[in-house]
């Protein structure tokens, strides 16, 4: 009498998990009952394969990233590596210069009495920051203006591509944080406060979906408008220009001095 294979043996055989595959194969060749049993097992596996997984959508990968990005903490990494990320170099350089230049200026002024007005430590510190922050605000203003002037609904657009604005906002955010922290450290509450508000708006842009409907776009634009950030940025920019003028060194008394010596 023929001994049939168990269900467990047949499942393991199908799964490639048996060492005695040849014997089982030989048995299956002879035994119609076990062959039928294996066919029934196969039918279940075939049915399993038909289980649908709902399509999460074409832009699923991007959505996952957008939801995740806000939850990711900054990596604890070496400070020098952080500083050498290219897009941060300009901002870091400006902040470093704001700290270092007055120090050297101070050393120079102590050696050469009386102090030259062009090397006044406070003025140098302010001027380096004023120029750098002024440029940063100028770039931010451009992004905000472009958003404010875009009118996708009137042009019959069904969707608005935010990717370029997003990338620029992300880059500006990095600089903005550095300048805000520096302004706070230097006790410039007014500038820190405007930079803080700008940061919130930049975050809003950076975290928006890559593609939005005209309605979503309008809502974002309204949020920006309600904050009055563009106006505040312009006011601070003008103030900085004024401060830049005031901080510029007076013309050199010595006519032999190079005319553009104090240019930054």
């Amino acid at each position: 009498m023929m001994t049939h294979r168990t269900e467990e043996e047949l499942i393991a055989y199908r799964d490639g998990e048996r060492n005695d595959r040849e014997q089982i194969a030989a048995h299956l060749h002879e035994c119609t009952e076990c062959r039928a049993e294996l066919t029934r097992i196969e039918a279940v596996f075939a049915a399993l394969q038909t289980m649908p997984v709902p399509d999460p959508g074409e832009d699923y990968e991007r959505r996952v990233w957008q939801q995740l990005a806000g939850r990711l903490p900054e990596k604890p990494s070496h400070l020098w590596k952080e500083l050498f990320v290219p897009r941060r170099l300009i901002a870091v350089g400006a902040v470093a210069a704001a700290i270092a230049l007055p120090f050297f200026a101070g050393r120079i002024t102590t050696r050469h009495e009386p102090a030259s007005p062009s090397l006044d430590a406070g003025k140098l510190r302010e001027r380096v920051l004023v120029v750098a922050v002024g440029e940063h605000l100028g770039r931010s203003e451009m992004v905000l203006m472009e958003l404010e002037n875009a009118q996708p609904a009137q042009h019959g657009q069904k969707s608005v591509d935010m990717s370029a604005a997003q990338r620029r906002a992300e880059d500006l955010l990095e600089e903005n944080r550095l300048y805000r922290q520096t302004a706070l450290r230097q006790g410039d509450q007014g500038m820190a406060s405007t930079l803080d508000e700008l940061e919130r708006v930049l975050l809003d842009i950076a975290n928006s979906p890559e593609t939005v409907t005209p309605t979503q776009f309008e809502s974002l634009r309204k949020r920006i408008e309600d904050r009055g950030i563009l106006f505040k940025v312009r006011v601070v920019s003008q103030d900085l220009q004024q401060r830049n003028k005031q901080a510029k060194p007076e013309p050199a008394q010595n006519e032999s001095a190079p005319p553009n010596r104090s240019k930054t």
């Binding site: 269900e7 467990e8 499942i11 393991a12 799964d15 998990e17 029934r40 097992i41 039918a43 279940v44 596996f45 075939a46 049915a47 399993l48 394969q49 038909t50 289980m51 649908p52 997984v53 709902p54 999460p56 699923y60 990968e61 991007r62 996952v64 990233w65 939801q67 995740l68 990005a69 939850r71 990711l72 903490p73 900054e74 990596k75 990494s77 070496h78 590596k81 952080e82 990320v85 990717s163 990338r167 992300e170």
Partner: protein
């Protein structure tokens, strides 16, 4: 980081850059592997909401543990294992939260026509034609899968959909090879019991040329 860059950066390079502090480089890994992780998560949890939670948590944990990964394996395989671990924990939590409902209540499915289909499935006397329908079979299968234990479901999904080795499944189940083989067998036997009448009806329908 733009689309073109995402497509050209290798996993190894993205890991290295992320570890160097460039958080945006992690996007390469998320965008490249999230769909595969979603499929695993959906098959394990049986619903979209939980599947999306698994995907988010898997990549979050992956980011937090990236130093441990440090290029010693394939990133896709590594994050897949993290997702499977999270999903099995989620399944266990769901089961313990409401074990009675897990076996008797209607399946948690996505909204839409599937809910109606599920009502039809619970019809005590479904016609052979209806049973042969693939949508009906899929729902039966989803129902059968929901009766498996978390370990059985994990084992069957990893083994039969994704072709994982027994050792890989054992690592997720925190078990040994033989016990894992038994888990796979139990899962198949349970599914077979639940699905066979419908799978056979479908096979018969195919043979008769009615499907």
């Amino acid at each position: 980081m733009d689309r073109a860059e995402i497509a050209t950066v290798s996993d190894a390079s993205a890991v290295e850059r992320t570890l160097a502090g460039e958080r945006d480089a992690y996007r390469v890994l998320v965008e490249r592997h999230s769909r595969n992780i979603y499929r695993l998560a959906y098959r394990m949890t049986g619903n979209r909401q939980d599947a999306e939670e698994v995907v988010q948590e898997a990549f979050l944990r992956g980011y937090q543990k990236l130093k441990q990964f440090a290029g010693n394996a394939n990133f896709g395989t590594w994050v897949y294992r993290i997702a499977a671990n999270y999903a099995i924990d989620l399944l266990r939590q769901r089961k313990s939260d409401d074990s009675r409902r897990a076996t008797t209540a209607p399946l948690k499915t996505d909204d839409g026509p599937q809910t109606d289909l599920l009502d039809r499935v619970t019809d005590p006397a479904p016609s052979p034609e209806r049973l042969a329908g693939s949508a009906e079979l899929s729902l039966r299968m989803a129902q059968a899968l929901s009766t498996l234990t978390p370990a059985e479901r994990t084992a069957i999904v990893m083994r039969h959909w994704d072709g994982c080795a027994i050792e890989e499944i054992a690592a997720v189940l925190k078990s040994n090879g033989n016990a894992t083989k038994n888990t796979v067998f139990r899962a198949v036997a349970k599914l077979r019991k639940a699905l066979e009448p419908f799978a056979e009806a479908r096979g018969a329908a195919r043979a008769m040329g009615t499907e």
